[in-house]
Structures are given as C-alpha cells and as structure tokens.
C-alpha cells in the first residue's frame, strides 16, 4: 500500500522517537544534545507531548479527510469515496480515543485524577459523542447509497464543530490544560518552550504518526472497497 522504503523508514523513525521520547532525560539546564529542558508545570511529564499531541492532531486530520471525501462523494456519487471517508472516520475515532486516554493518564499524575470535566476534556468527550453517533448512524442504514449520502452530509456538518472544540473552546475558557485562558502561556507546543532538539523529536514524532496514519488509512479503505466488491459479486 505504501512504498517499501517509506515503510522501513517509518519503523526506524518511530523507534527513534520512542527511544528519544521516553529515555532522553529532562534537566534544568540542558548541556548535552540529548537533554530536554524542564518546562514549568509539566516537568518530567512533558514527555507526553511526543505521543499525546500527534494522536490529537491525527484525529483532526482524519475528520478533515472524512469531510473531504464526503464532499467528493456528494459531487461524484462514487462509493469508493465513501469507503475512504469511512476509513478516515474509524481511524479518527481510534486516534481521538488514544488522545483521550493518554491525556487522562497524564491528568492523573498532574492534576490528581483521571477526569475533571476540564474544557479540553469536555470538548474531546463531545467530539467522541459526535463521531460515535456517525458510526452508529452508518451501521443503522442498510442501503449503501443512502448510507453514503447521509454519512457525507453528517461528516461535513460534524467537521464544522472540530475547530471550535479542539482549537477555540479550550483556549477561551479557564481550565487546567496547558494553553487555557487562565494560563499565562499558550501551552508548550504553541509557545515553543521546547529547545531545538526537543522540537526536532516532536516534529519527527508528528511525521512518523502521520505516515502510520496514512498507511493504515490506505489499508482500511482498500479493504472496505474489496469487501464491497465481493459482496456485490455474491
């Protein structure tokens, strides 16, 4: 589904990101290339950035792709576009759940419990409900053209809420999450509190996760297309 070299580069890249993200130490005054700076409020727990932020980014990317292929389906009525949209919705949900779980584990060690109904937590919960309903809607309709049409319209409307729930609401409301309205900074990612090496590992992590997403998405939609072809034959 993807180039052989890209596949093996992904393995090496992700392995490096895992080793660097977990084992590289966080110190007050970094002197060596492998040392990361202490970010106030995050300390040792800042390592979550390498895994939590890419999963949240991929859920946004997946929901965006679901909308794009939804629009494509409405324009051309090609069921392959619906399969691409469906694969993106499924992966978006998986990455959204991963972002929620990693964030929740981080919250336990930073704020004291797994869930606080912080604006960021509430917004991702609402997003999970919105896209969970879309999956439920898809499974409730048997006619594939009707399912594709309704799903396309739903994914377009659902994506309109994504920028609000991910980028706007958690930043205009006071909360515990870094980058909230009562936080002096915009959060470690937006404010670039990381040093150059930490930023490099962060961007490598984003790249590795994105390649992994693209690979799984391709496998996902091709298997859906094959399943539809086989169903039509029988």
């Amino acid at each position: 589904m993807i180039n052989k070299y890209l596949k093996y580069s992904l393995f090496v890249l992700m392995t490096f990101v895992i080793i660097a993200g977990i084992a590289f130490p966080i110190v007050d005054q970094p002197k060596e290339w492998y040392e990361f700076p202490m970010i106030p409020g995050l300390e040792e727990k800042a390592k979550i950035i390498f895994f939590h932020v890419p999963t949240a980014w991929l859920s946004v990317l997946a929901f965006l792709m679901a909308m794009i292929y939804g629009i494509k389906y409405l324009r051309k009525q090609d069921l392959n576009d619906d399969s691409k949209s469906e694969a993106a919705i499924q992966l978006g949900m998986i990455f959204c759940i991963l972002a929620t779980v990693t964030g929740s584990i981080w919250a336990k060690f930073t704020w004291g419990s797994f869930w606080h109904w912080d604006p960021r937590e509430t917004s991702i919960f609402v997003l999970l409900l919105i896209y969970g309903s879309l999956i439920a809607l898809r499974s409730a309709i048997e006619n594939e053209e009707k399912r594709a049409r309704l799903s396309a319209v739903y994914s377009i409307i659902a994506f309109l809420t994504v920028p609000f729930f991910i980028f706007i609401m958690p930043r205009i409301m006071a909360g515990l999450h870094p980058g909230s309205a009562n936080d002096d900074t915009s959060g470690p990612v937006v404010d670039f509190k990381m040093n150059a090496n930490m930023q490099m590992i962060f961007y490598l992590s984003m790249a590795a996760f994105t390649i992994l997403y693209y690979w799984i998405w391709k496998i996902g939609y091709k298997s859906l297309i094959i399943r539809a072809e086989l169903n039509n034959k029988n």
């Binding site: 589904m1 977990i22 690979w215 094959i226």
Partner: protein, 49 residues
C-alpha cells in the same frame, strides 16, 4: 546480575521503553502482514477480471 536488577529498580523508565518498543514492533508487523495479505487479495481479484 544484582547490579542489573538494582539499575532497573532505579531506572524503571527503561522497562517502560522496552514494553513500548515491543508493542510498536507488534503493531508494525501486524500492519505489514495485513498490507501483504490485502495486496495478495487485490492481485487475485485482478486476475479474476
């Protein structure tokens, strides 16, 4: 051997690292084998057409 155990006791992050690497290798191998199987099915279907 005792030195190794006491090193791991003080640096449990390396146990976490090992577990995460094993999980990542498992995910990679699973996705890769699914990819290969799917290619096989695709080729089979193309051959039938």
């Amino acid at each position: 051997m005792e030195g190794f155990y006491s090193f791991l006791e003080k640096n449990s992050i390396y146990i976490v690292l090992f577990i995460v690497l094993v999980i990542w290798t498992g995910i990679f191998l699973f996705v890769n084998s699914t990819d290969k199987r799917l290619k096989g099915i695709e080729n089979e279907l193309k051959g039938q057409k």
